[in-house]
């Protein structure tokens, strides 16, 4: 059964084909690059549907020998064998589908990227492989391996195709996430060294089955487990990001090209949530309990901090960036609640925020393209010129603030519900953030859509998009467009752009109206985890 | 006699004794130098069809050298202002001391000898090499262009010819199986090494002449080119010590050639009733004569010829000699 | 007694050499100091070979090899120094500073 490998590595086909396309043939590149994201989408949807019809996902597991670190006689046969292992459950499947969907949409939205398109799509596809792999891995080493693929791909995507301060953002991303990864690697190495395996299931067995504990290569003390979990949580907190570590996120959101941010905000941030649930709750349930309070506290801080700062921003990307911080706080809150509702809420929130931020940044991309700026001060009254766009933007804002019936609501509601059950006081404080969310999202969006343009002249004349000017150093300008008028003038969403936006809105509504869509595959997983937690 | 003393426990009386004997040898050597110089002048005079010294000390000028030495003793001692004073003063001593020290290991007869060390030959070579330092130091300390050039030339020459010298002596060591000079002489009881090692002997002799800075290899002191070489600035007794060192080396080298190749004190064939000391003296005188002869007959070589001869002819030849000797010894003995 | 005297001598020589090698500016002196250190090593080897707890001829052999290697190193060192002098007209170590950042 090669299904999962096929799923993860199918974009590779696109990469190979792209290599043979001439650099200048941008239409072909766009077409091929987008097409390459379709096979994983089909496969992911297929798996999703099948699992909804009762297909047992364990049957998709794959394993083959990869590295045999040692065959010293005093170790058991399976010790220190790192295998290539893929395997999914409901939790991963949700994220895989999210990834596949957003990847395709991002590829569609990438038509606005004009420079070095070939390289861009190569790395975009590599990023997709990495993300799919992260969620499909059933082995810690391979999880890490795919995680680092996304690191490199993101670095290049941000650093090369980003805005004016793109390299700074890329380095910022690299350093923070590198440190997180390094910490993660230490934890992985310790686990691998002490247990002799990196497979999730085996690890779980080793750590929890008293009988299997005898097979440990070296003992894992109680204290040691706390350190391991602490390391894990810290590593993922950097990648989430929790508040003291959030600066890289702001930079990346602001500087990265919008389609890449779709994937970044949509999927990459969620890897941290996934990791916390999968490894934190999954492997160290008992120890996790004592960290729950801290997590919840950080969650609340995130929510409030992000929301308050978002209030003060006058730049749409920055508003969205801080709102991401705020929303990832909700994920932490859900985890900190440490009950079924909380964890389910965390996952919901992850998916919902993935869809919403993807929509927002899709629109940001269009906005940048049309107006050359995302500065709220310079924009206003777009409803007249771009009614469709304004509608979508408003929908995104409403989803963002958690309007019932849209996806955001389900996640936030369940998460807070979970926390109210365990730590009502914290939850009450955190809920303030939801109110702020309403304020900042509406304020920003309404200013853009209905508000009076503050500096109309400049807005229309289009002040030069920094991205274009920065690129022009490397590439002789092919058209004079970016020097004068904003490209395309003030035109509403067009067919090709409206399709992804429409799909996203549809999904947001679908999840909001029919949460069972997500809850169904999750339930079993979450229940298993709750059993691990002992209730 | 010497053997008993050597085997007695070291003590102060031993030191005194050795001191006395050493002083005796010193006297002998000084006497040799005195009359060696005279002999050289006489022989060269003879070869050039003139008389040589014949005024001071009778018809043969027997006191000529003594007078020369006295003159040197009374000469004013000048040290150039530009010179490096301590080194300038030290240089002649550095040059002289090793020349005398090497005598300690040379066995003149089986009775008349001094130190008996296993690495005698190596000791000779090592200590004699130190003189180069004195020569270079003298040339450098004088701060004079001629002197420096002479000193450098001397150093280059001495180190270049030391290699073939050492390598040719290796043939002798191979045959004798020892570096102890007494053993080497003993090994020549039947066959002198000049016959067993003719090639080595030739190389050794040539290299020895060069080491002694004598014609035809006297470039460091070539009067016509360098005024007087490394000791231009020296006068009086300081200069005398450079000269003394040179002639003591003449003594030592002649003795070494005798020991290594001419069978030391061993007699010729049936003439065993003549004492070893006489034999040694005879061979020694013969070597000294040959060296004087060289001086009278050979023209001086050019600097480039000198150096290239050492490295391109003597060195390969001595390597060949070593291999040949070793192979022959492995095959036939 | 004898042994420790030799060892002390060697140690002192070694330290002098090390001090000189690390502090002197003139490369020739530095090279000589290195030779000094190597000679201290030879004293050690020969002393141990003669008076050590387990006397053995290996010490002499080692000393011989050390001498040879020291010679080779000195030869290469001088060659490097000459080449350096030709291009920079100095033999001071601290003037060998063109390779800094």
């Amino acid at each position: 059964m090669m299904f999962l490998s096929l799923l993860v590595f199918s974009p590779l086909l696109g990469i190979v084909l792209l290599m043979f396309v001439r650099k200048t043939d941008e239409r072909m590149i766009q077409w091929l690059g987008t097409a390459a994201t379709v096979p994983p989408l089909i496969l992911a949807l297929f798996a999703f549907i099948q699992s909804g019809r009762g297909f047992r996902l364990e049957r998709l597991d794959e394993a083959r020998d990869w590295v045999r670190l040692t065959d010293l006689p005093f170790f058991t046969d399976a010790a220190y064998v790192i295998r290539y292992e893929l395997g999914i459950d409901g939790l991963s499947l949700v994220f895989i589908v999210l990834t596949a969907v957003l990847a395709t949409l991002a590829a569609l939205a990438s038509m606005l990227v004009k420079t070095e398109k070939k390289g861009y799509f190569l790395w975009l596809l590599a990023l997709e492989i990495g993300m799919l792999g992260v969620f499909s891995a059933a082995n810690f080493v391979w999880f890490f391996l795919f995680l680092e693929v996304t690191l490199v791909a993101m670095f290049l995507l941000v650093g090369k195709w980003g805005g004016f301060e793109r390299e700074r953002a890329a380095y910022s991303y690299l350093l923070y996430n590198g440190l997180g990864s390094a910490l993660l690697l230490v934890v992985i190495a310790v686990l691998l060294a002490r247990t002799g395996t990196a497979n999730f299931a085996l690890l779980h067995e080793m750590l929890h089955n008293p009988a299997a504990e005898g097979q440990l290569i070296a003992p894992l003390t109680e204290e040691g487990r706390y350190w391991l979990l602490g390391g894990l949580l810290l590593a993922f907190a950097v990648k989430l990001p929790a508040v003291p570590f959030h600066r890289w996120l702001i930079r990346v959101h602001v500087e990265a090209p919008p389609p890449v941010v779709m994937l970044h905000a949509g999927v990459l941030l969620k890897i941290a949530a996934y990791g916390m649930i999968r490894f934190g709750v999954g492997l160290f349930p008992d120890e996790f309990r004592s960290f729950a309070g801290v997590l919840a506290l950080f969650g609340v801080i995130n929510v409030l901090y992000g929301a308050l700062l978002a209030l003060r921003q006058r730049e749409l990307k920055r508003v969205l960036a801080y709102s991401s911080v705020s929303h990832m706080g909700v994920v932490l809150i859900g985890l900190g609640a440490l009950n079924e509702a909380g964890i389910q809420g965390a996952v919901f929130q992850s998916v919902a925020h993935g869809l919403i931020s993807a929509l927002s940044f899709l629109l940001v991309g269009v906005l940048t393209h049309r107006m050359g700026t995302t500065d709220i001060n310079r924009l206003g009254g777009l409803t007249k010129a771009m009614p469709l766009f304004s509608g979508y933007l408003l929908t995104a804002a409403l989803a963002l603030l958690g309007l019932p019936g849209l996806a955001g609501f389900v996640g936030e509601f369940t998460s807070f519900l979970g926390l109210f059950q365990t730590k009502p006081a914290l939850a009450a404080v955190g809920a303030l953030g939801l109110i702020f969310a309403a304020v900042y999202s509406l304020k920003a969006v309404l200013d853009i859509t209905f508000g009076r343009p503050r500096d109309r002249q400049e807005a229309v004349m289009g002040w030069r998009e920094p991205q274009a000017s920065a690129v022009s150093i490397c590439e002789p300008q092919t058209s004079g467009a970016s020097l004068g008028e904003p490209q395309g003038g003030v035109v509403d969403l067009q067919g090709k752009e409206a399709v992804p936006a429409f799909i996203l809105v549809a999904l947001i509504v679908a999840v909001g109206v029919y949460p069972q869509l997500l809850a169904a595959p999750l339930t079993a997983v979450v229940e298993t985890m709750m059993n691990g937690l002992g209730g | 006699m010497m053997e008993q003393w050597l085997e007695s426990t070291p003590s102060w009386s031993n030191i005194a004794l050795f001191f006395g004997l050493g002083a005796l040898l010193l006297a002998v050597v000084l006497a040799f130098v005195t009359y060696g110089i005279l002999a050289e002048r006489k022989v060269m005079g003879f070869m050039q069809g003139r008389i040589g010294p014949n005024q001071v000390g009778g018809r043969f000028g027997l006191l000529q050298t003594v007078a020369d030495v006295l003159k040197l003793l009374l000469k004013e001692d000048t040290i150039p202002k530009a010179a490096d004073r301590p080194l300038y003063v030290l240089a002649p001593i550095i040059a002289f001391v090793p020349s005398f020290m090497v005598l300690a290991v040379l066995p003149f007869t089986d009775a008349f000898r001094f130190a008996d060390i296993g690495v005698g030959l190596l000791y000779y070579i090592a200590v004699s090499g130190l003189t180069t330092v004195g020569v270079v130091a003298g040339g450098w300390a004088s701060n004079n262009k001629y002197a420096l050039l002479g000193g450098m030339r001397a150093a280059a020459q001495m180190i270049s010819y030391e290699i073939p010298l050492v390598m040719s002596a290796l043939g002798v060591v191979l045959l004798a199986g020892s570096m102890n000079l007494v053993d080497i002489v003993a090994a020549q009881k039947d066959v002198w090494f000049i016959f067993a090692q003719p090639l080595a002997f030739l190389i050794f002799l040539i290299a020895a002449v060069a080491e002694l800075n004598r014609t035809p290899f006297d470039l460091p002191e070539a009067e016509s080119e360098l005024v007087a070489g490394f000791h231009v600035e020296y006068s009086g007794f300081r200069w005398a010590f450079f000269m003394l060192a040179e002639y003591v080396y003449l003594f030592a080298m002649a003795a070494l050639v005798t020991i290594l190749f001419l069978g030391g004190w061993h007699p010729v064939a049936f003439l065993g009733w003549i004492p070893g000391a006489v034999w040694f003296a005879l061979k020694f005188c013969a070597v000294v004569f040959v060296l004087i002869w060289f001086r009278a007959t050979f023209p001086r070589v050019r600097a480039d010829q000198l150096m290239e001869f050492a490295w391109k002819v003597l060195l390969p030849l001595s390597l060949v000699n070593i291999v040949l000797t070793a192979v022959v010894k492995a095959w036939f003995f | 007694m004898t042994l420790s005297a030799y060892l002390a001598l060697a140690l002192i020589l070694f330290c002098i050499g090390l001090y000189g090698a690390l502090t002197k500016r003139n490369t020739v002196i530095v090279l000589i100091c290195i030779e000094l250190m190597l000679n201290a090593v030879n004293i050690n080897f020969v002393a141990f070979a003669k008076y050590g707890a387990h006397p053995s001829v290996h010490g002499h052999v080692f000393a011989l090899f050390a001498i040879a290697v020291a010679a080779a190193e000195a030869a290469v060192g001088l060659a490097a120094l000459i080449a350096f002098y030709r291009s920079r007209k100095t033999v001071q170590v601290d003037e060998a500073n063109s390779l800094k950042h």
């Binding site: - | 001191f19 050492v166 | 011989l64």
Partner: protein, 122 residues
């Protein structure tokens, strides 16, 4: 036997002392006997009657150093040959082969220097 050893080196030491004493004695004696009339001109460096110019410690031709290097190398090589020669009788054929290899390597070194024109004096 060890007495012979010690006495031999004692003798060498004595010779060293004698060798040092003689020049010191002779030079001291000379100091009493010889005249001492210092003069500015006497203390100048001799340059065949010309006034000395420049410092004489000039940079030397590199070939001097090259020969010095060659000397160091070959002199050390002989150091290996001597012990070998002394015990050659006891070692037999193997030592011969080994030493021939050694000498051939040495010869290659010499040929190398020759070919690279190191041995050219002028």
């Amino acid at each position: 036997m060890s007495n012979v050893y010690a006495n031999s080196y004692l003798i060498i030491f004595v010779f060293l002392c004698l060798g040092v004493l003689l020049p010191i004695g002779a030079l001291t004696a000379g100091r009493w006997l010889r005249p001492h009339v210092p003069d500015e001109m006497k203390a100048t460096t001799y340059e065949s009657g010309n006034n000395p110019f420049h410092d004489s410690r000039v940079q030397f031709q590199v070939r001097y150093y090259l020969f010095a290097l060659l000397f160091v190398i070959f002199d050390i090589e002989t150091m290996f040959l001597y012990p070998w020669a002394v015990v050659y009788d006891q070692l037999g054929l193997f030592a011969l082969v080994e030493m021939i290899i050694f000498i051939v390597l040495l010869a290659i070194g010499l040929i190398y220097a020759w070919k690279k024109k190191v041995l050219r004096w002028m």
